[in-house]
């Protein structure tokens, strides 16, 4: 490995938004996560927890409920009262449908997957029929007095449990009428609280209803008699979420204190068949509220206000002790938020609703290996570009020459021209974008900044020639026949002849720019592609997969020294000769070569994120 001058950038003040809901899909082993800004992310648990898809957020679309139906269909409900179905292929919203019950607080799909249940602010529980391409309202259940915060189906599909404020209702699905109303004790540590909110319910096949509430209780109810069976007081604060395993032998709850408790069904004595629920392990991986939990067959998944998604494998279910058996904490999105202009030493940071342009600092000093050099010129915040409208930015890019900035939201594509006059910058928007350029999943400039490559969410790939102040549409690569898969990763060779593009699951397509045709397709690997790059001189395509084994396009070995082409999510694996691992950095969001001897690394220490979050629930710590 050579010697580099490294810019360690820590002024990217990025704070991910908190996790609101988590939905686990057992069939495809995927996890849908919704955040407070409305973003929905899909993680592939089999592919090393890679975030393979994401749907950008929207200011008015706070997601409160998320659920999978029939394997591959994802629904969400939010405070704007709409039920949204996501198109997982095209990565956009299929449709939004108003439930007409005020804000939606909870959703549940029937065990057979054909019916969707929605709990609304006005106390109504609405049943929707899931048709192959849409959902259709079927009927209302008996209306309750206050909002329905949690819903759960009995595995047989005949009854549902609905958690409201101060009570839990059990409905008969056929008649739609409430069978039982189970009042929850409002008392909390002897003091009567104003209200007891049922944050979560779970209906087990033996008729037991488990509820978690704002008084810190986990309660077991007999739904046949409507009586309380057992009560566990586990927290001084709210217990906000519950998830039960498919075998119904364990469940997990998350509390506002950041603790996750695991409960297991354990036989009372070794030789009796009598079983009881026992609280077993507490996990404290979060600092803030655990708003959502999920229970996969092998792991407990939790997420909350502190923005981490924590995947805690159950050691007794893990067969082999490998990398999968380790605790995983996912904080940052698995996509590029930063682009770099090598010529002008500029960095473009992408936030949810604005972009920031910074010029890197410079130094004249020299030093030994490991020295920290003093800056002769500090980093400079050049530009703060706010988006119009409520939509989040999907992607952004700055051209290598630094004179073009492009970004896209779900409905609009923006291209700006930057003019530098000494220290002043003027920004000029290129208007009249063509109609087909409405939304982009990935934007890339060619090395000489004359071409712009845009991957749109219809699966097509546009090539645009950039001229001084104007542009010209060159070509559109249409997706392969039959597939509508969107491209999310692009890489251009430094000589500008080759363009590599990859979707979420299929192989990597390599296009010849000179002849404007598809050159070849790298066959699909078991794991999704996380990063692409084309080596400068050899034109070798290097593909990083989520199993963390980089594969060069042709079978040539990678020799040392090789500059690491890593992005934040690519944790470099120690392969015998080709890679050197450096552990001096905090979590890295971006790394690139500015020139042969200069690296830029963007770090984001987790402590800085925690410091910007609202203060957690104060807990008395012993000895303080």
């Amino acid at each position: 490995m050579g010697e580099f001058k490294v810019h360690r950038v820590r002024f990217f003040n990025y704070v991910p938004s908190g996790i609101r809901c988590v939905a686990y899909n057992n069939q495809s082993n995927r996890l849908a996560v919704s955040r407070t800004d409305g973003t929905v992310e899909i993680y592939n648990l089999s592919a090393n927890y890679f975030q393979e898809k994401f749907f950008p957020g929207h200011e008015s679309r706070a997601t409160e409920a998320l659920c999978w139906a029939k394997g591959q269909r994802l629904f969400s409900g939010g405070l704007n009262g709409e039920i949204i179905e996501y198109d997982l292929q095209a990565l956009n919203i299929k449709y939004a449908m108003d439930a007409f019950g005020g804000p939606i607080w909870s959703m549940a799909v029937s065990p057979c997957g054909s019916q969707l249940l929605v709990g609304c602010e006005d106390g109504s529980v609405k049943l929707f029929q899931i048709t192959p391409d849409k959902i259709q309202f079927e009927r209302n259940f008996d209306r309750q007095k206050s909002r329905i915060l949690s819903l759960s189906w009995h595995p047989s599909g005949t009854h549902i449990a609905a958690g409201s404020i101060d009570y839990i209702s059990v409905f008969d699905v056929k008649s739609g009428s409430a069978v039982h109303k189970m009042l929850v004790d409002r008392q909390y540590m002897g003091v009567s609280k104003r209200k007891c909110i049922i944050w979560g319910v779970a209906f087990l096949s033996d008729g037991t209803v488990i509820s978690v509430d704002s008084a810190g209780k986990v309660q077991f109810w007999d739904s046949a008699t409507g009586t309380l069976v057992k009560n566990h007081l586990i927290a001084n604060a709210d217990v906000q979420s519950i998830a039960v395993s498919d075998q119904e032998d364990s469940f997990v709850v998350g509390t506002a204190e950041g603790t996750v408790f695991h409960f297991q069904l354990v036989s009372v004595t070794s030789n009796s068949s009598e079983k009881q629920w026992v609280r077993t392990k507490p996990f404290q991986h979060h600092t803030h509220d655990v708003r959502a939990v999920a229970h996969s067959p092998t792991a407990l998944i939790s997420g909350g206000t502190d923005t981490h998604l924590v995947i805690r494998p159950l050691m007794e279910k893990v067969e082999v002790k490998n990398y999968d058996a380790a605790l995983r904490k996912i904080t940052f999105p698995h996509r590029r938020l930063i682009s770099c202009s090598k010529k002008r030493h500029l960095l473009l940071f992408q936030f949810a609703h604005h972009l920031e342009l910074w010029r890197l600092g410079s130094t004249v000093a020299t030093g030994k290996n490991g020295d920290t050099l003093p800056l002769s010129k500090d980093a400079d915040h050049l530009l703060h570009l706010k988006t119009k409208g409520p939509e989040n930015i999907i992607c952004s890019c700055i051209s290598p020459c630094g004179s073009w900035i492009a970004y896209s939201t779900t409905s609009r594509f923006f291209l700006y021209r930057l003019n530098y006059e000494h220290d002043n910058i003027s920004l000029q928007r290129v208007s009249k974008m063509p109609a087909f350029l409405r939304s982009a999943l990935q934007i890339l400039f060619s090395e000489d900044s004359t071409k712009l490559f845009v991957a749109s969410n219809q699966g097509s790939l546009h090539i645009i020639r950039l001229l001084e102040g104007s542009f010209k549409h060159l070509h559109t690569f249409q997706p392969q026949s039959g597939t509508v898969e969107s491209m999310c990763l692009l890489a251009i060779s430094p000589d500008g002849n080759w363009l590599a593009a990859s979707g979420t699951s299929a192989g990597v397509h390599v296009y010849n720019i000179k002849h404007l045709k598809l050159h070849c397709t790298v066959p699909a690997y078991n794991f999704p592609v996380t990063a692409l790059a084309i080596a400068p001189n050899t034109n070798n395509l290097v593909i990083a997969h989520s199993d963390q084994q980089p594969l060069p396009n042709d079978k040539t070995l990678l020799y040392n020294p090789l500059p690491p082409t890593n992005e934040s999510d690519v944790i470099r694996r120690r392969t015998a000769h080709a890679f050197k691992i450096s552990k001096i950095y905090k979590p890295l969001l971006f790394m690139d070569l500015l020139d042969e001897r200069t690296l830029v690394a963007v770090e984001r220490p987790l402590d800085d994120i925690i410091a910007q979050l609202p203060p957690p629930i104060k807990k008395k710590k012993f000895g303080t």
Binding site: H262, Q264, V266, S267, V268, T269, S270, N271, Q276, V278, R279, T280, K281, P282, E316, F622, G623
Partner: protein, 777 residues
């Protein structure tokens, strides 16, 4: 008889009552504690010690109720025996000789004829849990050599072993391991906690274990204060545990209650209801005898002075000296009670407390307490802050009668000794009294190491390192000095009674000197490494305990002659720290010259491990007698009708009858000799058959057998009458009978003979009637 016995060293108290978990009897009427070589049976209602089960020859290490008979108690000891006791009567039933050092004992209801013990076979730190089969035999002492191995590599403490789910498994913890042995499957599962690699798990060590009474759940306590609840431990893979963290310090013990709540005993010794000698970490004050209560006084719980009754092996009360809240935290430097002395027949108590955090920062306080007759306790009178510049080395009252003013002398390392006297305080009514410093003396800036008043109080001896100075206590003039250049004076005392002209001093270099105060010359000196030197207040004798390489030796001598009266070698293997003579209430009368020194007072001494020992001539068998005496029911019978059948009254009556009828009468068979009656009286009530069954047996036993009835049977009637009365059954026959009886007795003496015969018949009839009546029902 007494002379034949040799003097032995016996443990007389101060054994840890909480060495092992106390055991409650099944009816909760008694609580059992191990106490040294004994097992103490306390009544839970009165807290009194009911019995002391004596018989083990070494430390008792475990007690358990016999699960098959809740009136019996098993105990095990380092002497390699398991003993079975009847605790109600305090009788040793059986002794099982195992032959190995037994560290703990467990019993199981399911394992009827075996007990579990912890032994240590090979390596010194590796302990095994084995089950011992107890053979059934009628003999008193049985060899029990049939051991079967259960668990290896366990902790020796019984807190680290627990049996669960009615004996289906046993859990043992040690270091970072939890081992569970299943008796049915005969398999052992072992669970390991991550050990001290990182700081987080540094104190993961197991400290104790308990099993849930009904469920398969094991609770373990840890060094860092965590409690883990293990479940599913029959599966090596699916086991799971919950962690509870309530304590900041080591979990000492835990137990399940019926309602699943775990009760934890905290790390500080909980103040037990029944308290023996409380052990402080260090005894600074030495042993003293309170002249009023004759109680032994020494450091008690932190900051307290404890009054301990030697007769009852019981703590009388604690006197809070420091009067500050005690913060139990490791590493804190506490205020320590270092010196105490009684003066003026127990009217005054002087105490010294100190705290030294750094070399230069000494906090010193002397307190003087007056005995208040109304409250029957000590009341703080004077508090002196910094009475000296440096540590106080000795404290003594002048106890002579002629002194009206109580006088106290303190000597200190700062080179001074101070005389404190009681004066009127600055109260206008001149009623309040307080202590003030009267005189400060020093000698060439040497450190004052000891001070001592002569018996009549006329002289004060103060030792300054190697020099002893004698002061006149009236004028505080220096009278003379003695210097032997034999090292610093460690102990100093005047002789008593006839030997009051002698002054004794023991030095650090192992020289014991005796000076004659009249001639101001050295009388004699001896080479003896004296650790403890105590004068007997009731005689001339002085006891000195010396330390040698093998143990401590006791020498008793009179100052007048250098030849010791009595020598006992090796009284204790440990170093003896303190000793004291306690005056006897009733003087003994040992005629043997060697034991005469024990006549007036008893000598107690405290070893380094804080066991209180004394000399006794009684054999252990003799000590047992008072408890066995209680068996004789006759002695303690109240005057009930029943008493008239038995007891001494009968004998007297016999005598009267004998007088009355002279030769006509035959001697009555004494009730004690009738097996049926003694059986009835000596069998515990709960094992007796029903009263109706006993009745006939009892009554018939009172009748004279036909063979003996050949001659006169007159005196029998008294007996029989009462026998019937005691029967007191509720049928009508009885009533008529009674009338008859009274009629009979009203008649002349001549008739008695025939009547008794008729009565006998009646009685037989009545017996038949009795049973027929029951069958009708």
């Amino acid at each position: 008889m007494v002379e034949e016995e040799s003097v032995r060293v016996v443990r007389c108290g101060g054994s840890e009552l909480n060495f092992r978990r106390a055991v409650f009897s099944a009816d909760s009427k008694y609580i059992f504690c191990v106490s040294g070589d004994f097992v103490k049976v306390h009544s839970t209602a009165t807290e009194e010690c009911v019995h002391i089960l004596q018989g083990h020859r070494n430390l008792v290490t475990g007690i358990q109720l016999n699960p098959n008979n809740h009136l019996q108690l098993y105990s095990c000891s380092f002497d390699g025996t398991v003993k079975l006791w009847d605790y109600v009567d305090g009788i040793l039933i059986k002794t099982f000789v195992v032959g190995l050092k037994l560290h703990a004992l467990f019993t199981l209801p399911s394992a009827e004829d075996s007990v579990f013990v912890i032994i240590n076979k090979e390596k010194p730190d590796v302990f095994q849990l084995v089950s011992v089969k107890l053979p059934k035999s009628s003999s008193q002492e049985i060899e029990a050599k049939e051991l079967s191995f259960v668990l290896d590599y366990i902790n020796q403490s019984p807190k680290c072993i627990a049996f669960g789910n009615e004996g289906e498994y046993v859990a043992a913890v040690r270091d970072f391991y939890l081992s569970v042995y299943f008796f049915k499957k005969k398999t052992t599962s072992r669970f390991t906690l991550s050990s001290s690699r990182n700081k987080k798990h540094a104190k993961n060590n197991f400290t104790c274990v308990a099993c849930h009474p009904k469920e398969d759940c094991i609770a373990t306590g840890h060094k860092d204060g965590k409690i883990r609840l293990w479940r599913n431990f029959d599966d090596d893979k699916k086991y799971t545990y919950t962690c509870l963290h309530w304590h900041h310090d080591m979990v000492m013990d835990l137990a399940f209650s019926v309602t699943e709540i775990i009760v934890i005993h905290r790390n500080l010794e909980a103040s037990a209801v029944i308290q023996g000698l409380v052990k402080d970490s260090n005894i600074f004050t030495g042993l003293m005898v309170d002249p009023r209560t004759k109680a032994l006084v020494l450091n008690g719980k932190p900051g307290h002075l404890q009054f301990y009754s030697l007769q009852h092996d019981k703590q009388l009360y604690n006197l809070d000296i420091i009067q500050q809240e005690y913060i139990n935290d490791y590493g804190l430097i506490q205020i320590e009670l270092t010196k105490a002395a009684f003066g003026c027949y127990g009217n005054w108590l002087a105490t010294v407390e100190q705290r030294q955090e750094k070399e230069t920062e000494l906090e010193l306080q002397m307190k003087l307490w007056m005995y208040n007759k109304k409250t029957q306790g000590f009341v703080l009178n004077t508090k002196v802050n910094m009475p000296h510049e440096d540590h106080i080395t000795a404290l003594c009252f002048c106890n002579a009668e002629k002194f009206e003013n109580p006088t106290l002398v303190t000597s200190s390392k700062d080179g001074h000794f101070k005389v404190w006297i009681l004066t009127d305080d600055s109260d206008i009514y001149k009623k309040a009294v307080g202590w003030t410093c009267d005189f400060v003396g020093s000698y060439h800036k040497y450190q004052a190491t000891n001070c001592c008043f002569s018996e009549d109080g006329s002289l004060l001896a103060v030792s300054f390192e190697e020099i002893v100075t004698i002061w006149d206590s009236e004028t505080w003039e220096l009278k003379c000095t003695f210097c032997q250049r034999a090292g610093k004076i460690r102990h100093l005392c005047f002789g008593r009674l006839t030997c009051s002209k002698y002054l004794l001093g023991a030095t650090e270099n192992g020289i014991l000197c005796c000076w004659n105060l009249l001639s101001c010359a050295l009388e004699w000196s001896a080479k003896l490494n004296v650790r403890v030197m105590e004068p007997d207040p009731n005689s001339e004798n002085i006891a000195a305990i010396s330390r040698s390489s093998v143990g401590s030796d006791l020498f008793v001598f009179k100052p007048s002659e250098p030849r010791p009266l009595y020598i006992q070698k090796n009284i204790s293997r440990e170093e003896v720290q303190w000793g004291v003579f306690v005056p006897r209430d009733v003087p003994e009368s040992f005629t043997s010259e060697a034991y005469q020194w024990l006549n007036r007072s008893q000598f107690y001494f405290l070893t380094k491990s804080q066991s209180l020992l004394t000399f006794s001539t009684k054999s252990p068998e003799e000590k047992l007698t008072p408890t066995s005496k209680q068996l004789l029911a006759e002695e303690s019978l109240p005057t009930t009708p029943f008493y008239f059948i038995l007891g001494k009254h009968r004998e007297q009556q016999d005598e009267k009858i004998n007088e009355a009828f002279e030769s006509e009468l035959v001697q009555l068979p004494l009730t004690e000799n009738i097996p049926a009656i003694s059986e009835l009286l000596h069998t515990p009530a709960h094992v007796l058959p029903s009263a109706s069954f006993l009745c006939s047996k009892f009554v018939s036993s009172l009748l004279l057998s036909k063979e003996t009835k050949s001659g006169e049977e007159i005196p029998e009637d008294v007996d029989m009458e009462e026998g019937k009365e005691s029967d007191d059954s509720d049928e009508e026959n009885d009533f008529t009978e009674k009338i008859q009886d009274t009629n009979n007795t009203d008649l002349g003496e001549d008739l008695l003979h025939q009547l008794s015969k008729s009565e006998e018949k009646e009685l037989r009839k009545f017996r038949k009637v009795d049973y027929s009546w029951i069958t009708v029902l």
